[in-house]
Symmetry: C2
Subunit: 145 residues, 2 copies
């Protein structure tokens, strides 16, 4: 088994994944949201509630910058802070109602594009795809810790 060849495949594959996700997510962000802000909202949609520190660590944004962006998003009424029960230093962040609505809409659009993309795929092939994703997720694209 040639690991070098597999690496080549890996590179072109990840490039394809980036291109396709770019195509699928472009234009789903409302006007006044920056890319960074959108990526935070996306993270919130999946992982809320989270603390500022968690956002900072997971999205690789420094604490001051995270604080700034969350402030902007809060000003735009897209997310809200609330206290963490046992530690008054911490702040939980979650999507506000309108933030949630916005992200639902975005995911709907992406979902529609995804369905369009796999519309000609047979039922067995869908099984294959599911299986392939599971393989890659567990064997290659897993967290390293």
């Amino acid at each position: 088994m040639d690991k070098e060849a597999l690496f080549q495949q890996f590179v072109t594959f990840t490039t394809s994944v980036h291109e396709v996700t770019f195509e699928m997510t472009k234009d789903v962000k409302p006007e006044d949201i920056t890319p960074l802000q959108y990526s935070i909202l996306e993270y919130l949609a999946v992982s809320q509630p989270v603390t500022l520190s968690q956002i900072s660590e997971c999205k690789h944004i420094s604490m001051p910058n995270t604080s700034r962006e969350i402030k902007k998003l809060t000003d735009k009424q897209l997310c809200e802070k609330f206290e963490v029960p046992d530690d008054r230093r911490k702040q939980f962040i979650r999507l506000s109602e309108s933030g949630q609505a916005m992200m639902n809409k975005a995911f709907e659009q992406i979902g529609a594009r995804f369905l369009e993309r796999i519309k000609d795929v047979s039922a067995e092939e869908l099984e294959d795809i599911q299986h392939a994703i599971n393989i890659l997720q567990s064997k290659v694209f897993h967290g390293s810790k």
Copy 2:
């Protein structure tokens, strides 16, 4: 077959791919190269020679900005322009010798990290991985045109 569930899997999978590629490529760019410049160099490494228009289109950078970045990279001696035989308006771009060397080094580092990542994977599993990549590449992550 539940396509909604598959979409969920798709989302978490692409997130994983982004995280893993981020981990694998971080710190491989030399000091004075910006992320955008690195991504152009990466593209050059794989597709050279290409015209400015091709870079502009593939990397989604406007022509003026592409021109500017290529100028910076040329100033840094990392790539070079040369004429296209039949059309004197066009310019081919390719990596210079030192640019090539830089990218070889970067890819070596990434390759090493990739090997580290799959070091405990058996020969059969490698086959499975290869197969899984082929499936996804052809059925899901292909160009749409």
